[in-house]
């Protein structure tokens, strides 16, 4: 099992990330701890429990697609194929703000130290760093800015409401 960052610390992760979007290895059908590609999960929905599932969205899969299934998930991972592909920031924000999703949202893929504080602000609360990243260094970068200007998920109020 790999480690991920949650609640400001490095923790062992119980999940297995299933990267193949084309064909599902049958061993994952009953695996409650598999993070399945959303497309493949849809095909086996009936064979899965009603709650506690984990799926992942790629950067070209809008969260609107899963909005009716949110109660089935305890974790939604959003893939960053490249750290410069910023779609996932809006996906996380919308899952929280527009669709009211309360489970975990994990950043996976090209997840780098310098993006963590923004990830956290738009609603991510689980971070699978890219393998080569220094996790001790990473923990220092969650709050590079103490009092940001804008409203997002965290904080939900813009700075000007504090003045």
């Amino acid at each position: 099992m790999d480690k991920v960052i949650e609640n400001g610390q490095l923790v062992q992760d119980k999940y297995t990330f299933v990267a193949d979007k084309e064909t599902l290895d049958p061993k994952y059908i009953d695996d409650a701890n598999a993070i399945l590609p959303w497309g493949l999960y849809q095909g086996i929905k009936d064979q899965r429990p009603a709650i506690g599932n984990a799926v992942w969205l790629d950067s070209d899969e809008l969260p609107d697609a899963i909005k009716d299934d949110l109660s089935s998930f305890s974790l939604i991972a959003i893939n960053f194929p490249a750290f410069t592909d910023g779609r996932g920031y809006s996906f996380a924000y919308r899952l929280r703000h527009t669709f009211g999703y309360k489970g975990k949202i994990r950043a996976v893929g090209d997840v780098l130290i310098d993006q963590l504080s923004a990830f956290k602000r738009v609603g991510f609360d689980s971070f699978a760093l890219r393998d080569d990243q220094d996790s001790d260094e990473a923990l220092k970068h969650f709050s590079d800015f103490k009092d940001p200007y804008q409203a997002s998920i965290e904080p939900a109020e813009p700075l000007f409401r504090k003045l």
Partner: protein, 551 residues
């Protein structure tokens, strides 16, 4: 002007710490070139042909004499003693050392300045009218709204990795001096029938390789909804904008491919979930920011007396008379004028200014214009609040430091990008072309007789020199490894704008001054009394110009 509170200061200070750490990790090999690239770009740092270039933000073009002195000091201590004002109302240093950049940022932070988001695929510096707050044709001062947008866009967590760069311009006057239809978003401040303040919002305009005039997305947005509506537009763009081809990644391509109706529908849907939420502007916040842009304490002056004094001085000094004609502008307040300090002079690249000139100019701003300066997107500097009776003294002081070019708004007040002399993207060297034009057309009486003409030069189709919206546009192109220049006519940056049409096959650099001369001959031969170049062009069309230039 806006003065930082503790929070504003904390954010720029935290940025210096963050950037210093990032640069340190890059120097230690912990960040690759590709990973450091967007981090440094979001801080205005380019690696150019010869050295890094640092672009410092001048939010909506407004800065103080103290800030100008700091820019002078930075150019002296860390650069080669000059700075370059860009078409985005920003300032650029062409020769800083990479390892000095955190110290430069720390110097800037001391005077409430920064380089945040002056480059990269994020929301850039918001621009506006250089005469904001003083223009005679202004309905509403755009600067408080620009500052609100500055704060909202600074380190917006969702929009740091957009498909492409994103530029917002704001205007609040009859004449659009901010080219709002040529921006990713244009905000025009308006009043509705009930007298309530709001915004007409334009989306999807832009220059670059595919110039597009923006579309109106809403005719009237209530004042408090500005930031949440911008959030909605950006959210649609961030999710749906193309990322597979950087030449098709601007919002203008998305708006065009969806159609404005479908795009508007998406924005409305997102906005519906935001309207009235805590992200909405409060009247308290609007008041707080507006109160930073109060009118200076103008003495009450008699305009007739001021005009008489000025007339007498103009009568004695023909050079001053010419300068007054082109470089001073009407002001809201009796007895006052705004002054353009032209940074267009033969032998100096358009927009460049030396450190000692900056220092003197800072003193002059203190003495004659309430200590404030503005940068214009025409790459000039403005002293916005000068007493008419002090214009002559100011002019003489400017003359003493070589900043008395009496060409504002004329042919030689060119907009010009840094071009192939500095920029790694350019196809062609634009500065020598500007200089050759400056040399050929050095007769001020002739320039003044020609009247208002906008001549814009870009070294490549990225269009930093805004060639599409020049009355005369010049674009550097590469043909089999050789530099050529394509000429176009009829562009305009006014409201609803117009894009220039290509005249015909491109020319070698040395031919350009003669081509311009022929174009001007056609204009002079065809113009009616008091007609401007653009008006004549629109009346007679492009053919007479083609015939003379290529005939």
């Amino acid at each position: 002007m806006y003065i930082y509170n503790n929070y504003d200061q904390q954010i720029v200070d935290e940025r210096v710490v963050q950037y210093r750490d990032q640069l340190g990790r890059y120097m230690d090999g912990k960040l690759s070139d590709a990973e450091f690239l967007p981090l440094r770009l979001q801080n205005g740092l380019y690696i150019q042909r010869l050295a890094p270039m640092l672009r410092v933000a001048i939010p909506y073009g407004l800065f103080s004499s103290e800030q100008l002195r700091t820019l002078a000091k930075i150019s002296r201590d860390y650069d080669k003693g000059y700075a370059h004002f860009s078409t985005r109302q920003n300032v650029q240093f062409n020769w800083p050392a990479l390892e000095d950049t955190p110290d430069i940022l720390a110097e800037l932070a001391k005077v409430q300045m920064h380089a945040i988001q002056t480059s990269g695929n994020c929301i850039r510096n918001t621009t506006t009218d250089q005469f904001a707050g003083v223009a005679a044709d202004e309905y509403i001062d755009p600067r408080p709204y620009c500052e609100l947008i500055r704060q909202w866009s600074t380190f917006h967590p969702e929009f740091a990795f957009l498909p492409r760069k994103f530029k917002i311009a704001v205007c609040g006057s009859e004449k659009d001096r901010a080219a709002t239809y040529m921006h990713d978003i244009g905000v025009e401040i308006v009043k509705n029938d009930k007298g309530e303040v709001g915004y007409k919002v334009i989306v999807g305009g832009g220059l670059g390789r595919t110039p597009v005039i923006g579309s109106v997305i809403t005719e009237f947005l209530p004042e408090e909804d500005l930031l949440t509506y911008l959030d909605a537009i950006l959210r649609v763009y961030n999710q749906l904008g193309r990322r597979d081809n950087k030449y098709k990644a601007r919002i203008k391509i998305l708006v065009r491919s969806m159609g404005i109706e479908a795009f508007r529908e998406q924005v409305d849907e997102h906005f519906a979930g935001l309207k009235g939420t805590e992200a909405t502007l409060t009247s308290k916040e609007l008041e707080r920011v507006k109160s930073c842009f109060t009118m200076p304490d103008y003495p009450s002056l008699d305009d007739n007396d001021a005009e008489l004094t000025l007339k007498a001085e103009v009568g004695k000094d023909a050079a001053f008379a010419r300068w007054v004609k082109t470089n001073t502008h009407p002001h809201k307040v009796a007895g006052f004028a705004s002054v353009t300090i032209s940074l267009k002079k033969q032998g100096t690249a358009p927009g460049d200014i030396y450190d000692d000139q900056m220092d003197t100019l800072a003193d002059l701003a203190d003495q004659y214009s309430f200590g404030e300066i503005r940068a214009s997107h025409q790459q000039n500097l403005i002293l916005a609040d000068v007493k008419k009776t002090e214009l002559y003294a100011l002019y003489q002081a400017l003359k003493a430091i070589g900043l008395d070019s009496a060409n504002a708004g004329t042919l030689t007040d060119m907009i010009c990008c840094p071009g192939g002399d500095f920029c790694a993207l350019a196809n062609a060297k634009s500065i020598p072309v500007a200089d050759a034009i400056m040399e050929k057309f050095d007769d001020l009486d002739y320039l003044h007789d020609l009247g208002e003409i906008e001549l814009n030069i870009s070294g490549c189709m990225n269009a930093c020199g805004h060639h599409h919206i020049g009355n005369i546009g010049i674009l550097g192109v590469d043909k089999k490894g050789k530099e050529f220049f394509q000429v176009s006519l009829g562009g305009s940056q006014e409201k609803a704008g117009s894009l220039a049409k290509i005249l015909g096959p491109a020319f070698a650099a040395e031919e350009i001054p003669n081509v311009i001369e022929k174009i001007l001959q056609v204009f002079v031969a065809n113009r009616q009394p008091d007609e401007k170049f653009l008006e004549t062009y629109r009346r007679i069309g492009i053919d007479p110009f083609k015939e003379t230039v290529y005939g």
